[in-house]
Symmetry: C2
Subunit: 254 residues, 2 copies
DNA sequence: GTCGATAGTTAACGGTGTTCACGTTCATGA
DNA sequence: TCATGAACGTGAACACCGTTAACTATCGAC
């Protein structure tokens, strides 16, 4: 069963895809140049030598264009992190985790307008139906992205379990309610991981910490901190110490 | 020396202040109704029965209005947290810390558009001069807000030091670089606290964790989690356990 | 009671997203 | 080969937007 969606694209479809790509590229330039709010259909059309209504042959609205952009950005960020990790030897789980975290921050601070658009401007949960639609494209892209950390975490867990014969330490979370445990199990299922709830919890909270520092740095909420990379490295070192893994070779002094 | 700025407001200044308040109030309604982005000078004027250019007698631009709104929101959020804490007995530092954290989240999830505007839409560091201008009004409001946690943390530190005779435990942050230590000292100085760098570090990272969860919840980045309050409480419990304080009376099961 | 600051007006400019009605191009099936 | 219909692109228009300029009315103070 060959894939139905891409098939063999007609010549017509090829030039159409090229036009779509150019639209998103020009929009990307406006985003990086003057921030999220500066993306304008008319300006895009002007830059492309077209009239504004022509763009409606490719996107039903400006909002749809922004959503498509966000999807691309998620995949770009994911690719950036995966490429950075791919340069490491296969079995270096700890290195992969650190490189993934550091490349996440590196991409974010190097692409602040994109980061703002992805994580603040566009509401992924369209606040419409009962909850979110997991089949919707932006949600799927966000899920693909978040699974990068999830997979690395899962591999780290399995490796140490096998090689050392005992699982990684997990932080003390006393008296986890059944409700929270159920949520954590569901969270692990989304990446197909069969791990203890404590491990799920650790992954989630670590990811939250990473997101927290990076978001605050990007949004200028750390005005006192002159060198956020020092703080970031220190937090990585702290988390690694909690995991009881040695990362001095990666971080050096914190 | 009586305050110079408010003085005895003329009748003229009183009605002017009332108009300014009404403008911000109408803008706030638009914000809560249709999100940031939906705040429009012309719509505000329409709602007030005025013409749009008249608003320029009160704010030099829409951006300035948004900044003023953000300042008010910072103070409102700060007041909300302080009022919640004030209902506790004077010496209950741990309770204050938990109530501050919980009221922060409560305000954020009850005022998602405001939260987005404050922490994402408006750039506090206007990316202009060498760094940020600490005298600028929005930055001052943000500082006043962040000092709520800072003061509570500081008080908790001093209390336990006196009553128990030894300081609170601090997480292991091996080999802190002199650069990071200097930043943490500066961070402590902004709240006039004389605390060890480890304590400064703990405060910063705890605040980052709180911001991280709340921002992800507000921005819909936790799609798998159905009940974020459970996760939030669990993180509070974890941080309390790190502080070696007992909060079961506050949280119950996590 | 005059005078100047203050607050408000209308008109206008250039910009935006979006829709509509109209042509043009082009691959395809009879 | 040619007609057909879908896909693509256009200009005009509508309803907004932020902002500026020129002008008028109001009101407090000397």
């Amino acid at each position: 069963m060959e894939p139905v969606t891409p098939k063999t694209p007609n010549r017509r479809e090829r030039v159409r895809n090229a036009t779509v790509a150019e639209i998103k590229s020009v929009a990307r330039d406006q985003l990086t140049g003057d921030g999220p709010g500066a993306i304008s259909l008319r300006a895009i059309a002007r830059d492309m030598g077209m009239s504004a209504p022509a763009l409606y042959r490719y996107f039903p609205s400006l909002e749809a264009l922004l959503v498509a952009l966000v999807v691309d950005l998620y995949d770009e960020l994911r690719g950036f992190m995966e490429t950075a990790c791919a340069e490491l030897p296969e079995g270096d789980r700890i290195g992969r985790l650190l490189v993934a975290a550091k490349s996440f921050r590196a991409w974010a601070v190097a692409h602040r307008p994109e980061f703002t658009l992805m994580f603040a401007s566009v509401d992924l949960h369209s606040e419409g139906s009962a909850h979110h639609d997991p089949t919707a494209e932006p949600h799927a892209a966000a899920a693909r992205f978040s699974q990068v950390f999830g997979r690395i975490f899962h591999e780290l867990y399995r490796q140490t379990d096998e090689e050392r014969g005992f699982p990684l330490p997990t932080p003390a979370v006393p008296n986890m309610s059944p409700g929270l445990q159920a949520e954590l199990v569901a969270c692990a299922h989304t990446i197909g991981a069969d791990v203890p709830v404590e491990f799920s919890y650790m992954f989630l909270t670590y990811w939250i910490r990473l997101y927290g520092v990076v978001a605050m740095e990007v949004h200028g909420q750390l005005p006192v901190i002159e060198h956020p990379d020092l703080l970031f490295n220190a937090m990585l070192a702290e988390m690694a110490a909690q995991l009881r893994v040695d990362i001095t070779e990666w971080i050096g002094t914190t």
